[in-house]
């Protein structure tokens, strides 16, 4: 069942949570809605579920306009960040809740319900926990129960709102893999919300990146990471640092140095050069910019140096250290050259979005 959001607008008070959002989730796809807090990702998920009514626009499930269908008949499975389990019911009764809530004609017989509950608890690796109460389970186990409960009603689409947000790193990783396996087994159209780019890139078939109530880009994890279409996406997905540059006559200039980077269609004028940590390389003094190593830290399994470039502004960049460069120490003077990078026009709202980013990018904009 494919899901389409057409022109969805939703306002809370005077603040627009969603502005004319179009999104298509293909049938059987696992899609992530990724964005900073306040970007409207949870609101979009709740509008798809029917927990919020959009002020304008339409949600289509396949060929059906689902907008007027109330949440309880929409056939969505919804998993909440804080589980929302019924704490006075056992795990089995929680999972069976949706089946027992059906009208008499559609309700399976008790033996069938018991069998389905057992199968689902097997699926989420909680066989034998059926008689327990939610208070007797760990956070990860509770979220597995919530997942089983949502799957029990055989929803047309499965929606998860920051499903791993309340869990610690290790449990999060296990549960991520479980969700992927369950998705691959059931083939259910699945949308999950996250503010964690690693989660989105690792888990999803496609990622929709939201910012300020709009969809900035939709694409595979590789596309959004390697071919971001906006400064916001570039800054939000993956790690990067930024340099204020200028595009002049089809070339990119940082102060009085020409960068070995094409302007990538960026119009002449002030622009921002985004550099991934592996876009920079150390070089001989005559080939690059001098800078001082401020800090060396471990990141993503390797070592990374934070370098303050010489000259006014004191811009900071980050560079991954390769083997053989391990001898570098804090305070060393090094020379850097740019091997690759992405250029986006410097915009007022780009600066704003960079500010709200959770990580990296500490370069003040010009």
């Amino acid at each position: 069942m494919d899901i389409r959001a057409l022109g969805i607008t939703k306002e809370f008070g005077r603040a627009a949570a969603l502005r004319d959002v179009d999104l298509e989730v293909r049938s059987g796809e696992l899609m992530a809605l990724l964005g900073p807090s306040g970007s409207g990702k949870t609101t979009l998920l709740r509008v798809i579920a029917g927990l919020e009514q959009p002020d304008a626009g339409e949600i289509r499930f396949g060929d059906v306009d689902a907008t007027p269908i109330p949440v309880r008949r929409r056939g969505v499975g919804f998993v909440f960040q804080h589980y929302a389990l019924f704490r006075h019911l056992t795990v089995s009764d929680n999972v069976a809740f949706g089946l027992r809530a059906r009208g008499r004609s559609r309700r399976p017989p008790p033996a069938e319900i018991a069998r389905r509950v057992r199968d689902l608890l097997d699926l989420v690796q909680l066989a034998g926990y059926g008689h327990r109460f939610p208070s007797q389970l760990s956070g990860g186990q509770r979220q597995r129960v919530a997942l089983a409960r949502a799957l029990a009603v055989e929803p047309k689409v499965l929606l998860l709102d920051e499903p791993f947000g309340a869990l610690d790193a290790r449990v999060r990783k296990d549960l991520r893999r479980s969700l992927r396996e369950i998705h691959d087994a059931t083939g259910q159209t699945t949308v999950f919300v996250t503010h964690d780019q690693d989660e989105a890139l690792e888990l999803a078939d496609r990622v929709a990146i939201l910012n300020g109530g709009r969809v900035e880009q939709v694409g595979t994890p590789d596309e959004v990471h390697d071919a971001p279409i906006s400064a916001f996406v570039m800054g939000f997905v993956g790690e990067s640092t930024q340099l204020p540059v200028e595009v002049r006559a089809g070339e990119v200039w940082f102060r009085e140095a020409r960068m070995a980077v094409p302007p990538q269609g960026c119009a002449p004028g002030p622009a921002t050069l985004f550099l991934r940590p592996d876009d920079l390389a150390f070089c001989a003094p005559q080939d690059g910019w001098p800078g001082q190593v401020l800090m060396i830290r471990r990141a993503a399994g390797g070592r990374r140096a934070e370098v303050k470039l010489a000259g006014p502004g004191g811009h900071l960049v980050e560079i991954d250290l390769r083997e053989g460069e391990a001898a570098m120490a804090r305070g060393d003077i090094v020379h850097l050259r740019v091997r690759a990078g992405r250029v986006f026009p410097a915009r007022a709202d780009a600066a704003q979005s960079v500010e709200s980013r959770p990580q990296s990018g500490r370069v003040p904009m010009p």
Partner: protein
């Protein structure tokens, strides 16, 4: 073979000090304030001897009064619990103009001298009063009947029922209702299966308090009840009557009977409540 050192352990070692002093204070306070007067009551009753006590316990007028007292108090507590739940729900869940005024008004029966409430109710429900006048043509008499006692007891017991469930309703997570909705549950099923079970311990606590308050109520009832022996006479009134006749032993005997019945009723309800807390109150 050295003799093992045995120490009486009444508690597990804890990082929070003060167990000894807290328990000592609790027992001393309970003894002085609660148990001392009650034991004096039992002591005085004992002066009657078994035969005298049995005579009073078998007196049909006293039995009728006890039946009225506990029966009507039970009914009033049931009704107060149901309406209290409803009022608490409305006050917690909905925002409407004057909500705070209504919320404050719930406590009025606490603050009002109960005699005032009794006189007000008697005036209101008398056959020539506002409410009584409306009901009279239908043949419904409230004032000076057991129904009048019931109305007065609901009035004084209501705040207990409201105030015990109100905080629990505030704690219900909206997401639980949303989860039930996404699972296809109707609104009534959500209320019955998701919202009410966690409230049950609170409702029972409110019921216990309302019942205890209603059994002991005197001031408001005597004005509205009419106090007809065998019909609308309550046990506390009999105690007062006996006191006025200087029959102190008889008065304490009735009081002891009330005490016994109340204690067993409260004990039973408390056991039920702790069972429901275990069953429905998993945190």
């Amino acid at each position: 073979m050295a003799p093992a050192v045995r120490r009486l352990r009444v508690r597990a070692p804890s990082a929070i000090p003060g167990f000894g002093i807290a328990l000592g204070y609790t027992l001393a306070y309970l003894g002085l304030v609660v148990l001392l007067p009650l034991s004096a009551l039992v002591f005085k009753t004992a002066g009657l001897g078994w035969a005298g006590f049995a005579a009073i316990a078998g007196d049909p007028r006293i039995l009728a009064a006890l039946r009225t007292s506990f029966g009507v108090a039970f009914a009033a507590a049931v009704v107060a619990s149901l309406f209290g739940l409803l009022i608490a729900w409305v006050l917690t869940r909905y925002r409407f103009p004057g909500r705070r005024l209504v919320d404050a008004a719930v406590d009025l029966p606490f603050a009002l001298p109960t005699a005032v409430a009794g006189i007000a109710l008697a005036t209101l429900y008398a056959p020539n009063g506002w409410a009584g006048g409306v009901l009279a043509p239908w043949g419904i008499k409230v004032a000076f009947t057991p129904l009048g006692i019931f109305v007065a007891l609901v009035f004084v017991a209501l705040p207990f029922a409201v105030r015990t469930v109100q905080p629990l309703i505030g704690e219900i997570d909206r997401e639980l209702e949303e989860a039930a909705a996404t699972l296809g549950a109707t609104r009534s099923r959500t209320v019955l299966r998701v919202i009410l079970p966690p409230l049950l311990p609170g409702v029972l606590t409110g019921f216990v308090l309302a019942f205890a308050r209603a059994v002991g109520e005197y001031g408001s009832v005597i004005f509205v009840a009419g106090n007809l022996p065998f019909v609308s006479e309550i046990a506390p009134l009999l105690i007062v009557i006996k006191l006025e006749e200087f029959d102190y032993a008889g008065a304490t005997a009735v009081a002891t009977l009330m005490l016994l019945i109340s204690f067993s009723a409260l004990l039973a309800i408390n056991l039920l409540e702790s069972w429901s807390r275990r069953r429905f109150g998993h945190v």
